[in-house]
């Protein structure tokens, strides 16, 4: 379970002005919102990648900002973070990138063969052919492949919680569908809690148990997909309509 409590964050201007949100254990939760509203910033506060000006985050009862600093270490082990542009380490090959997803002490505990098997299996889970790409550098991979390697790195440590920052943005429809299936499968098979930031409203509504919409620094809506579709809130309506229009445009282009 992740609880965001009264999160405030300003850079030059206020970005988050009091966000309260709880994602339940085992839940698949989608966070929508126009770009630049602070979805990534909110997600980053979970691991102290962005430190809120005010407020706290609790992960399975462990406080990130008000507890001992050892909490952060424990929380990092629970969470796999999938970054928007994969954020693979440029100078490391795919094998090294994925193995970085394991904590240092676990790497030193595993034999080379065990580590190699672990990386291999994880790449297969994300539908990549290990033999072909293990020794490739990120610059030699396509966008869709990079995203999958990024996912592999996030799940190789068998996290209980996955944070997905726009995992399908910038992918073609075929890769989008594949990554969405993967998210769904991981969430059900590995029984992880997922918090998903996405532009793909249609996909998010289909996959997720609950959704929320961030707008103007706070959560404008929290509820089930059905409630979201039926929401009388004009801001939500405008967002849904625009998302639908963009989706239609995408389909037309394809």
């Amino acid at each position: 379970m992740i609880s965001y409590k009264n999160i405030h964050k300003a850079f030059d201007i206020p970005v988050l002005t009091g966000v309260d949100l709880t994602v339940e254990t085992g839940e698949m939760f989608a966070l929508f919102g126009p770009s630049g509203t602070g979805k990534s910033v909110l997600m980053k506060t979970t691991l102290s990648l962005v430190v809120p000006d005010l407020g706290d985050v609790e992960v399975d009862g462990l406080s990130v900002y008000e507890g001992p600093s050892s909490n952060l270490e424990k929380i990092r082990r629970k969470i796999g973070y999938v970054f928007q542009h994969a954020a693979l380490f440029d100078s490391l090959n795919v094998y090294e990138n994925v193995s970085m997803g394991l904590p240092e002490d676990e790497i030193s505990r595993l034999t080379t063969a065990e580590l190699s098997r672990r990386v291999w299996e994880t790449l297969e889970i994300v539908n990549l052919e290990p033999r072909e790409i293990l020794s490739k550098l990120p610059s030699e991979l396509s966008g869709g492949m990079k995203k999958r390697v990024g996912i592999a790195r996030a799940i190789v440590g068998r996290p209980e919680i996955l944070l997905w920052d726009e995992p399908t943005t910038g992918l073609d429809p075929i890769n989008t569908a594949a990554v969405e299936r993967l998210i769904k499968r991981l969430s059900t098979e590995l029984e992880v809690t997922s918090l998903l930031v996405t532009h793909d409203v249609e996909g998010g509504l289909q996959m997720c148990d609950r959704v929320a919409m961030l707008s103007g620094g706070t959560l404008r809506f929290v509820g089930t997909p059905q409630e979201f579709k039926d929401s009388p809130d004009t801001v939500v309506r405008a967002f849904v309509d625009r998302a639908a229009a963009i989706a239609a445009l995408d389909m037309a282009v394809v």
């Binding site: 980053k44 691991l47 102290s48 990648l49 270490e73 990092r76 082990r77 969470i79 973070y81 970054f83 928007q84 542009h85 954020a87 693979l88 380490f89 440029d90 970085m100 997803g101 904590p103 240092e104 790195r153």
Partner: protein, 261 residues
């Protein structure tokens, strides 16, 4: 016309605050680096890679700069001294200029371009592509993985490169003196020895160690503060280069009052 004055004071106040912020962050970064060295979190392999990039790969350009510095000092010195002073003074002049000033300063400026800019751009790219966040999310410490090896390598490499530049610069100056005003090797070295203090060598190396610390510390610091995409990386790299060159000139100016009385 009070406004411009107020505005000016506000500006001075602001740059003072910004300077203090930078200074504080630079201090923290150096401290964090020391801590990661002390706790053995820095990998030898990473240091060796950086030593190769900063040291070995800088040799050609340092060779060229030092040669030119030696030649130019020798020619200009020869031009000024020719009638009034004993010729062996040229040996003193070239060696002192190279060891005290030119080798450390020019090598530092070359490293700003070759290494400093590269580090800022590299780290800036890692920030904007979220690689630094990725390191942290995986419980790794970007300081010990990325910053520390570069800073350690800088401190180790710089004095060695300056030593190399000294040898090259002095020899180039000596050859030029022979070619230009027919000053023989023996006489040149006699002049060099006549006014030689071992302290000078230490002075030059002390400078180079400080430069070798500042270049990577500033470039890492600036790189980690990069914001906003590819454009931000370019902007931040330019800023970092200006910052490094200014710092080097200021440090260079502080050395004589501190170490030469």
């Amino acid at each position: 016309m009070i406004r411009p004055v107020e505005g000016w004071f506000a500006k001075v106040g602001r740059s003072y605050r910004v300077t203090l912020e930078h200074a504080g962050a630079l201090g923290m970064l150096s401290w964090d680096t020391l801590v990661s060295i002390a706790t053995l979190k820095v990998r030898l392999k990473d240091i060796l890679t950086q030593l190769h990039i900063m040291g070995v790969q800088s040799l050609p350009i340092v060779f060229v700069t030092a040669t030119l510095a030696g030649i130019v000092t020798s020619q200009q010195g020869g031009y000024q001294l020719i009638s009034s002073s004993p010729q062996y003074i040229l040996g003193t002049l070239v060696v002192q200029s190279v060891v005290l000033e030119l080798a450390p300063l020019l090598t530092a400026i070359v490293l700003v371009g070759r290494i400093g800019a590269r580090i800022t751009a590299e780290l800036g790219t890692m920030v904007v592509s979220e690689q630094i966040d990725a390191f942290k999310s995986l419980g790794r410490d970007p300081i010990s993985i990325i910053a520390a090896p570069r800073i350690i390598a800088g401190v180790l490499t710089m004095p060695l490169l300056v030593g190399f530049a000294n040898v090259i610069g002095i020899n180039a100056g000596m050859l030029m003196a022979d070619f230009d005003i027919g000053l023989g090797r023996e006489t040149f070295l006699y002049g060099a020895r006549l006014n030689w203090h071992s302290w000078d060598l230490f002075y030059g190396f002390a400078k180079s160690v400080v430069f070798g610390l500042f270049i990577p510390v500033i470039s890492v610091h600036m790189g980690l503060r990069t914001r906003g995409g590819a454009e931000g990386v370019g902007l931040q790299t330019t800023k970092a280069v200006m910052f490094m060159i200014l710092s080097i000139l200021v440090i260079d100016a502080l050395f004589p009052p501190l170490l030469l009385q």
